[in-house]
């Protein structure tokens, strides 16, 4: 049965029009024409907050790193551990009273924002630098910085490179999709130094290329350099130059559009700072339960209903401290003197010790 071309064309046109009409009806466009019944459940779907979704699911999903020892690392037994992972646990402890109700969704540097934006995860805690364009263009909201970092450069000890000027004409390995790629270009342009950037997708590829001598230097956040140095073949043959290329405030981020969830992430993070400020640790927390200090009573949920303001039970912060610990405990467990990294606290000390950690009061 052969159709004449004319009939066929008309048929095609008709069906396209039909298709577009179907689509127009089906699309979640905010057309006022849509009937009341159809619009109501859609609106409810929209109104469902991230917290509701997390509670319903029974666990929080964090975008994390799987290969940065000290921050986010997948060990041989398949468990995630690290500084960022502990913050994910802290969120779980605050929401469910159980720090084990979390899941890490590992992502590369370039995937991380998409994973969060698409709603595949609830919060991004993956050594992510807070920058203006990420905060605005990418639709992110950044919770308080948990780790103040700066970009550094690693070179071979025997190369004799001491200053940025010594790097003139060198090949420098860098990971793509990071702020480090931009900082490197900016700093080198400012100093008028010519160099050859060699860009790889993962940190593993970068370190392989550097170790094989493809590059004279490689650059990333100083914490990352310290962390990766421990897994080089001969860690003592390399050193981190005494230059800092940039400010790298790392912290958790959430997507735009759910302020309650943003507040929750923000205040759970602050609570770890406050706990350290008041000297409350996971071990001695019970001795504070009869404290008379109003600041401590509010933090531990003994006075006022502050946790309710972020949609949680009254002992939310107490659970964080009990199960995960205060900032110092989290830091020392993952990066402190007892670990291979032995990173000095530096800027990551409380403001009372000359650092930058400062939490607004719970009031």
């Amino acid at each position: 049965m052969k159709m004449s071309p004319k009939v066929y064309t008309i048929g095609m046109l008709l069906s396209m029009v039909l298709g577009i009409i179907i689509a127009a009806c089906a699309a979640p466009a905010p057309t006022p024409v849509a009937s009341e019944e159809a619009a109501a459940p859609a609106a409810q779907e929209q109104a469902k907050s991230t917290l509701d979704i997390v509670k319903e699911r029974g666990k929080i999903i964090c975008v994390g790193n799987a290969n940065l020892p000290g921050f986010g690392f997948l060990d041989e037994e398949g468990n995630f551990s690290g500084f960022d992972v502990d913050y994910c646990k802290a969120m779980a402890a605050a929401i469910f009273g159980d720090a084990s109700k979390f899941e890490i969704r590992p992502a590369t540097a370039k995937e991380r924002f998409t994973v969060l934006q698409s709603g595949e995860a609830d919060v991004l805690i993956r050594n992510t630098t807070w920058t203006m364009s990420r905060d605005t263009d990418l639709g992110m909201n950044f919770a308080p910085t948990t780790f103040y970092d700066g970009q550094g450069i690693m070179v071979r000890k025997d190369s004799g490179i001491k200053t940025l000027q010594d790097l003139n004409g060198a090949s420098i390995c860098v990971q793509t999709g990071t702020t480090t790629e931009l900082n490197l270009a900016d700093q080198m342009a400012a100093a008028g130094i010519e160099y050859e950037p060699v860009v790889f997708e993962t940190a593993d590829e970068v370190t392989t290329a550097y170790e094989e001598g493809r590059c004279d230097a490689w650059t990333t956040d100083k914490s990352g350099l310290v962390s990766r140095q421990t897994v080089l073949k001969d860690p003592s043959a390399h050193e981190i130059m005494d230059v800092t290329l940039s400010k790298e405030p790392l912290g958790p981020a959430v997507r735009h559009g759910d302020d309650q969830w943003f507040d929750l992430v923000k205040w759970v993070t602050f609570s770890t700072f406050l706990a350290e400020e008041h000297g409350i640790t996971s071990e001695n927390i019970d001795s504070f339960m009869d404290s008379t200090d109003p600041n401590i009573r509010k933090l531990l949920g003994l006075e006022g209903e502050f946790c309710a303001k972020i949609g949680l039970e009254n002992d939310c912060f107490a659970n964080v401290i009990r199960q995960v610990g205060n900032y110092a405990e989290i830091y020392n467990r993952n990066l402190g003197p007892d670990t291979v990294f032995n990173l000095p606290r530096g800027l990551n000390s409380l403001y009372t010790d000359g650092g930058l950690l400062y939490s607004p009061p719970i009031r």
């Binding site: 689509a23 990418l138 999709g177 270009a185 094989e212 735009h256």
Partner: protein, 397 residues
């Protein structure tokens, strides 16, 4: 009523049982569903981008400053150039590796394909082993092997192997001497253009004479001879050579001068060439075998030399079978070059789909551009190959 009685066979059934109507309706429904689904996903994407994230689709970012450096580039590029220029750098890098890859893969593929048909046991087996091994290894594995196990393992730059030239061979890449244009270069390009015109004229004249006398000379040979002769004469006639040789030398961390073919570029090019050549070899073998034995025997009986048999009888017929699958191998090579990202070569996909995407966060815009560009490359390649295919196909009388 009366008509019904007279022509019962022409009675039209109700439309829901009319095959013609049903076939039209069913096609309308299918197209409607497909278009509807596409439109739904599109509007869904646009609206969720606009309303949930507040970032509507906008290509304006292309005019912004890129802010990152690119390791190798055919045109001048610095961090203060725009994203659009960074796109162009990646595009040219892809083109560079694709064009060179196609040329070398074709040459290597034809050699291996002919070897595969050799009656010499050793030659035949070497070609078979080559094809069977390389066709069955994933390209990504091959590329990483080349990058990490071959080029990374070359000596470090300080202990570079120096071949006469000088050519520096190190795990940074291969630095070779390269010509730098002088003041007379523009004049020289005009001389070359004149030579090209002359070569075309010579070829046409020779072909016409060949048709008259019945003894057709090898036209492509004469074309090249004319062009090269003009090139050589032009070089020496000019007061100053149009190109001076720039030799690489080791300065500080890297070689300066000449031209450096980076380790990433060499790894990508060799991986693509060696892999695609295995497929092309099979295409060539199949093409040659498709020419019936009688053709060869007849040609030999006419007294043609073996080379003439190959050039005048076998190859023209084999080409008809070879060209269509060869086209798809060319397209594959071009598209496979996007695996460059795994070994750090800044091709279109690595620059745009990775770095630009990360710095701007504009996934839809960046990917639509990248896909459009690859599509353009592929369609252009097919177009030229189809034109060529039409020219060489059997003229039916």
């Amino acid at each position: 009523m009366q008509q019904r009685a007279i022509h019962p066979s022409q009675e039209r059934p109700p439309f829901w049982r009319d095959e013609r109507v049903l076939s039209v309706i069913s096609q309308i429904v299918v197209v409607g569903i497909v278009v509807g689904l596409l439109a739904f996903f599109y509007t869904n994407m646009v609206s969720s981008l606009r309303e949930q994230l507040g970032v509507p689709i906008d290509y304006g970012f292309l005019k912004q400053t890129a802010g990152f450096d690119i390791g190798e580039s055919l045109i001048s590029y610095s961090r203060s150039d725009t994203y659009a220029r960074a796109f162009l750098v990646g595009l040219l890098n892809t083109l560079q590796v694709a064009v060179l890859g196609i040329v070398f893969a074709t040459i290597l593929g034809i050699i291996i394909g002919v070897m595969r048909l050799s009656t010499n046991f050793l030659v035949n087996r070497i070609a078979t082993a080559y094809i069977e091994f390389l066709r069955n290894v994933p390209l990504l594995v091959l590329l990483i092997f080349w990058a990490q196990a071959v080029f990374f393992k070359l000596p470090r730059i300080k202990e570079a192997i120096i071949l006469p030239g000088p050519i520096y061979l190190s795990n940074r890449g291969i630095a070779i001497p390269w010509g730098i244009p002088t003041e007379t270069w523009p004049t020289y390009t005009r001389i070359l253009l004149g030579g090209l015109v002359l070569a075309i004229i010579v070829t046409i004249v020779l072909r016409e004479r060949g048709k008259r006398t019945g003894r057709m000379p090898i036209l492509s040979l004469w074309f090249l001879v004319t062009l090269i002769a003009v090139g050589i004469i032009g070089w020496f006639v000019l007061p100053q050579p149009p190109l001076v040789l720039d030799r690489p030398e080791l300065v500080g961390f890297n070689t300066k001068g000449g031209r450096t073919l980076s380790q990433q570029f060499m790894a990508l090019l060799s991986g693509l060439v060696i892999y695609t050549a295995a497929f092309i070899a099979e295409v060539v073998r199949a093409g040659i075998q498709s020419v019936s034995k009688g053709q060869r025997e007849a040609a030999t009986a006419l007294g043609l030399t073996p080379f003439q048999v190959l050039r005048l009888v076998i190859f023209p017929q084999a080409l008809r079978v070879i060209i269509p699958p060869l086209t798809s191998q060319y397209l594959n090579l071009t598209k496979n070059s996007s695996l460059a990202i795994a070994i750090g070569y800044p091709d279109l996909f690595a620059v745009a789909g990775n770095t630009i995407l990360n710095q701007t966060g504009r996934a839809v815009e960046v990917f639509s551009l990248v896909m459009g560009i690859y599509l353009f490359f592929s369609l252009t390649t097919s177009l030229f190959m189809n034109i060529y295919n039409r020219r060489i196909r059997l003229v039916e009388r």
